[in-house]
């Protein structure tokens, strides 16, 4: 039995190894991903994002516990930053998820961002696909403590939960583009703090604007914004507190309501379409870069880069010439 079949049959060690293969983009990992892909698209993928210290890990832990009490299986993918200096990483999300650590109904995987800047790792999407294929009906993706431009989780998740902590920003912050615009549900965490009410009010004051503008999905890495008017979905602003163990039922209900809304409004399909496009584009980019390395080679690439450094050529034209060279080489090979 190959590794994908073993993972499908419920072998958790095989699943775990497969996730490494996918993360490291090995030959086996790539083949298994292709084999499993037809069985993806079933899970409800929920992104949990927000600034560092907002309490994402703690919230994920509690949410997972609540979901387990209802008897549902789930998977968690938690991303932490890779050090740009050493290439190493300290992955600490398990520290706050110890309640779940012996529950075999939860599969939790830590990932390092490995230089990817969008708030998740490059391979997070693929790891989610594998977990989806092997039958986890709900997958929580916790981002790197994300800043305002790290919105890529919206390309992987169906529902994005933005976690805010009291006192971390005023309504001007809230008006800024980025994270606020990809939120389907906003959670004011640490609601036991007295400043929480003020934060909720500030968020409420900007929420109508978010709705009427209606842009919802941000195309990552490009200027244009794509698709999906948010007609009919009012972004709820919820309050949770780990200390007082409150707000989790409401959050879970909101997740389910959003999933139902997506399905009934046809947006589930629209998001699958967008995500499929993003995946194809991402692979196209990787294949092109691989072709560049194979067909043009490092030496020629460096020579072209040198002409740009000397200002004899401009970056856009240089890239175009390289593309022409790739196409010529690929055409010649055929």
């Amino acid at each position: 039995m190959d590794i994908a079949a073993a993972a499908l049959a419920g072998d958790r060690r095989a699943l775990s190894r497969l996730l490494s293969g996918v993360e490291n983009d090995t030959v086996v990992g790539r083949a298994a991903l292709a084999q499993l892909f037809p069985q993806t698209g079933k899970a409800h993928v929920v992104g949990i994002t927000g600034a560092p210290g907002a309490g994402k890990s703690t919230l994920v832990n509690q949410l997972a516990r609540e979901i387990r009490e209802r008897g549902q299986k789930l998977a968690i993918v938690a991303v932490d930053p890779t050090s740009p200096y050493s290439g190493g990483a300290l992955l600490g999300d398990r520290l706050r998820m110890r309640d779940l650590s012996t529950d075999t109904g939860v599969f939790m995987r830590s990932m390092a961002s490995r230089g990817h800047a969008g708030g998740i790792a490059r391979a997070t999407r693929d790891v989610v696909s594998v977990l989806d294929a092997v039958g986890y009906p709900l997958i929580l993706v916790e981002t790197v403590g994300a800043g305002q431009s790290q919105v890529e989780v919206a390309r992987v998740a169906h529902t994005v939960v933005l976690v805010e902590a009291p006192g971390m920003g005023d309504d001007i912050q809230a008006l800024k583009a980025g994270l606020m615009e990809i939120a389907d549900i906003i959670v004011v965490n640490k609601a036991d703090k007295p400043e929480a009410r003020q934060t909720v009010r500030a968020l409420q004051s900007v929420r109508p604007g978010m709705r009427s503008e209606g842009h919802h999905r941000v195309s990552v890495g490009k200027e244009k914004q794509v698709a999906a008017e948010v007609a009919g979905w009012e972004v709820p602003i919820l309050q949770t507190s780990a200390l007082e163990n409150r707000g989790l039922e409401e959050l879970l209900a909101a997740l389910e309501a959003h999933r139902d809304f997506l399905k009934e409004s046809g947006q589930w399909r629209a998001r699958l379409q967008e995500n499929a496009r993003a995946e194809v584009e991402s692979w196209l980019q990787r294949h092109l870069l691989a072709l560049l390395a194979d067909e043009v080679g490092e030496a020629s690439l460096t020579a072209v880069v040198d002409t740009v450094r000397r200002r004899e050529n401009n970056p856009a034209s240089a890239a175009q010439e390289l593309l022409a060279a790739i196409l010529a080489a690929a055409g010649g090979a055929r």
């Binding site: 958790r12 060690r13 775990s16 190894r17 996730l19 490494s20 993360e23 490291n24 983009d25 890779t82 050090s83 200096y85 050493s86 290439g87 190493g88 990483a89 300290l90 992955l91 600490g92 398990r94 520290l95 110890r98 650590s101 012996t102 075999t104 599969f107 939790m108 995987r109 830590s110 390092a112 490995r114 490059r122 391979a123």
Partner: protein
């Protein structure tokens, strides 16, 4: 994407001192490894389950409580139960010299006592990975 060495760092047992574990975790990160830090008071089942889900290449235990002769066999057993007997286990902490061969006999890859240079830990893990 290049393969990174993934290490689980755990503190089994009841003592509450994780300074040493954190220092080692940082040193491994600085050596380019991905360290999954699980923190204090981990049971052998918790450790083996985390090792399985994270698909780590090495498991590191920090034990200062003196309970290593009871904890280590249980961790090894839980790893074996999950078909992970091939994953090297390294142990650091306050381990009397007489106990080191006992632990190695049980299947521990390497034991580090007090005053170990963190670079020796890095080197041992690299060696275990054949690097």
């Amino acid at each position: 994407m290049e393969k990174k060495i993934r290490v689980l760092m755990a503190k089994p047992g009841l003592d509450g001192h994780d300074r040493g574990a954190k220092v080692v975790a940082r040193a491994l990160r600085d050596a380019g490894m991905e360290v999954i830090y699980t923190g204090l008071r981990q049971t052998p089942v918790m450790i083996a389950e985390a090792a399985l889900q994270e698909d780590v290449d090495v498991v590191g235990l920090s034990i200062l409580s003196g309970a290593h002769l009871s904890l280590v066999p249980r961790v090894l057993e839980q790893l074996r139960e999950r078909n992970m007997a091939d994953v090297p286990l390294v142990v650091g902490g306050i381990i009397p010299a007489d106990d080191i061969p006992v632990l190695q006999e049980l299947g521990v890859y390497k034991v580090f006592g007090p005053g170990t240079n963190t670079q020796d830990v890095v080197a041992a893990i690299n060696r275990a990975m054949g690097m």
